[in-house]
Point group: D2
Chain length 322, copies 4
């Protein structure tokens, strides 16, 4: 893709951000911790990165935000690398539920209480508990290293966010102790929670998100590093999970009307992985990663402006895996 094209497209993304920013009014910043509640709800940023590192971006692209639930994809991939698929799948299923992200009902109603998928809190806490490392710090370091390799720069945990999350983590503690009781936790509850909440508090910008999306889109192959970072099968599985369970209990509607593997977080982050074959007519025919940030979320937990912006792009560029 020639630079001109990208410049042209940067105008395009700027236009789009302008067009979709007003949708933020239909949502609200997450309010359960101050660090999220105090964000500017009108922000909207996007980055799209292709296999040859072409990037289109617009909006508050330097704004840092926490991964929140987007991290669930990352640690799931890491756990599969460290433990192997059979080990992971013995402890967490890959079925969508239609329930809210923090639901506990199914752990009791479906014996033996195996979490249904790694994209809801219960499953993600189980995944965090099985990461490699002798301490929460070690485990979190491995997550950071894995992500830093992908984004090519140092990342860190936002300590303020982490501390706030830690103090309001009662529902997650409830989930974790339930999992512990039924045998689906690999390490002590407080360790698993520390890892889980720290992974949620890792800070990135939209370009970082887009880069993560690009590697997933590329089946684990990092086009800039010329390196396979994780197995193709794990990447496919991650994308399947993003489609069936990635957008909380609006995943079905997202698949139906947008049709791209994506994972959202209550910070307003959306990670999108567009496989090459899903965007043959787009400016990124070899696939791309998309990172979006729009902190005003709907009641389900997804960025309102972000989802609308993404729907527009997917339609405009005819990107859809179905």
């Amino acid at each position: 893709m020639p630079t001109d094209h990208i410049n042209h497209n940067n105008h395009l993304t700027a236009e789009w951000v302008k067009q979709f920013r007003p949708y933020a009014k239909e949502g609200k910043c997450a309010s359960y911790i101050p660090a999220l509640a105090e964000k500017d709800p009108n922000q909207l940023a996007i980055s799209i990165i292709g296999t040859n590192n072409d990037e289109m971006k617009a909006g508050e692209t330097t704004e840092l935000f926490t991964l929140q639930s987007v991290s669930k994809v990352v640690t799931f991939i890491l756990a599969c690398m460290e433990r192997g698929l059979p080990y992971v799948l013995e402890r967490v299923d890959v079925e969508p539920t239609g329930d809210t992200f923090n639901s506990i009902i199914r752990l009791e109603s479906h014996q033996p209480g195996k979490p249904f998928n790694p994209m809801i809190n219960a499953g993600a806490i189980t995944v965090s508990s099985m990461l490699d490392g002798n301490s929460p710090q070690e485990k979190v370091s491995k997550i950071l290293q894995f992500l830093e390799q992908i984004v090519g720069k140092e990342l860190k945990v936002n300590e303020e966010v982490y501390q706030s999350e830690w103090q309001t983590a009662n529902r997650n503690r409830s989930l974790a102790y339930y999992l512990m009781d039924s045998g689906f936790l690999d390490c002590p509850v407080e360790e698993a929670l520390e890892v889980y909440l720290k992974q949620c508090a890792i800070e990135v910008n939209v370009s970082d998100l887009a880069m993560i999306g690009l590697v997933i889109a590329n089946d684990g192959y990092h086009p800039l590093l010329n390196k396979q970072l994780f197995p193709k099968q794990v990447a496919k599985l991650a994308k399947a999970l993003m489609v069936t369970c990635g957008m909380y209990n609006a995943s079905g509607k997202f698949a139906a009307f947008i049709g791209l593997p994506a994972k959202s977080g209550v910070s307003g982050a959306i990670l999108v992985a567009v496989p090459s074959h899903a965007g043959l007519d787009s400016p990124f025919p070899a696939g791309c990663g998309i990172g979006i940030y729009g902190p005003a979320i709907d009641t389900i937990g997804n960025s309102v402006a972000g989802v609308n912006l993404l729907k527009h792009i997917a339609t405009e560029w005819n990107m859809n895996i179905f």
Copy 2:
């Protein structure tokens, strides 16, 4: 694709059927009605049809079987054509549930009782109720006509199967009356059930299934008729539903490990739609439809030999939408 290639491939499918037929032993024919219970559990048939009508097939390809839940995809598409998407989506959601196909719990636990998706019985009965026609016969005629246009031959309802289903339909009646009570049924219960159970009892063979799959794969365009039979958006939506909810409460695992839009029925039928971009390296780079029949099903309702055969093909031919 030259004929030689296909002949070669027919040997291949014959080989595959031979290889995967023994998996049937791990399942059992559906037992709730005699017409299904008496089927030969060891049968296994497959047909794969490409855009230029090339067909690879093997096994009991002339065996007739009833669509059962596979019909849910068909009537959903038809309802969208007849009523328009907004009308349909107001009455049935498109979220996966993780519940069994005949579950009623969510109709009560999630107000206002809108069925979660059209691939479970509750949603499919709602869809059947909204089809166009002044009588169940008229509605069923329209379903048959729609399907006959796709497969290019006359189809009919297996009356024996229908009668048996009708007499054992208490659980479906329970669902239908519940839907009626909460306002999610467009016609009287008995009419909706007649349509629903007759659509389930439509008889096809694997080539018919493959042809239906081909048109869905092709976004509603029938390559032999050179005709757009239904809107592209409806086809995409149907494929999204097949991926998120098509294989009962094993849909997540199917998406994760096979990664193709598919819909199964308790008759042992599996309908698969492989979009062009999902099979670029396969003998059907422009996409294909796959029909499978293997009546021995697992406890969830999916053909055991069929799923294993499909997994093998998807892997061999590198077909995957993710």
Copy 3:
């Protein structure tokens, strides 16, 4: 009890009715059928009958109303007489649920789907299905005969109410078909529903209710007929069910704060059975039956003025089984 005393007490009940009638404003008449919706919400009537036929009454005591759920106690007793306890208890449990009267969730979530108790719709429909008789008419006749023997006069089904109920019975049909599917219905669904809905539409006044309550209070012995109408064990069981499940999902609170066996109906009826030992200090030391009618019900289904009036009497007269 001398006549003077009762006359004095009639002034008392009149006073009480006057005092508690205004509570009706906090409720509303049931609205799902016109025959109930059109009732005068401000009516309040009470009858208290002792073992020597002394009656205290006040308010609209000649007003006829339908039994609705109050009939559940009656048919449960009748089924126990006709089939014997073991037969009945094999088909319906006696556990309270905390769920609404028309809930279906537990039939699916607690295998094998045996209804939890005969005071919720599911259980009551099962009970109706097991009554003796070759037709719904015969079964309803037996219910009427049983009740007529108790109240000493002819009773009949309010046809208008029955017809309205029949036409809006979708939720009950849903329950009945579910029960049929899991094997907890003894006769065809439509027959069971006809019996169930007709028993609900039997018309009585508060004196009739009080007389039914008196016989239950007296462990099945009718003091005026000098006759044991049903076994003591069945009467005890009925009273236990009234305490644990008789007031819909407010039964626990009713037991906690009023402490008397009672069964309510959405018509605003309340049947109360005060065993002799529970009212030793009351004007009815040998026990009594209480019938109350106050059609303005709360969201749970209980007469607002009726429950408050009853609480007052129980406190004043120190009547409590605990």
Copy 4:
């Protein structure tokens, strides 16, 4: 009651214990902690104490065992005394559920997550959290003092049992953190749990249990101390709760077939309160308390031999509140 009568009755209870001890074979000692698992499953002891301190007893009457869930009645009464009924009832409802004692589903499915009653773990933990005291030790001291006043001797927490419970309390922790998250916990989780688990580990013998039962039976009045220990209304409420929710999810059956206020624990303890009016024909016409210990419990959590023994006594002596 003359001493002769009681001596005669002691022979009777000895006879009964002999007769019902074999029922223990149908149960098993609770196995989740060693201290309970190692108990002798064949033990069976009973004490019945009347208002004039007459005691009938038999079996292993000096055996000490922990209160477990029986303590829920005690702390509920204490909380009502310390905080007043309105405060307590704002934080815990009094409705039976039909669910297992450690179920968490209803906290999520019934907003705002108020525990349904104080006899299930969720409700009992809430109650423990609202007890008066600046530390868990202080709160436990108050429970012990309250009980010691009743039984007239020093009681203590079995530290071994408490330590074991503490280490296996994951499910209770899950409940407690859930309650904390929804605002139904009055103190930090670990404090509430310490109080809850220590109250469960208080050691008594059957005579102690019987004495507690006697005071509850007597509406809070201690006949030996000639002192009202807690308000009559609280005692009535406690007995109502024992009837509707006291025997885990077999409470309905226990009420139906035995008809006495009772509370069981997984240690095999059963506390029974027989109000005066419920046993007019028994050797204890002024009411009595019954304590039973039989560590072999059924799958629901109730002592098998204990329940059968109690049913026999209730029948023989015609004791029943209904």
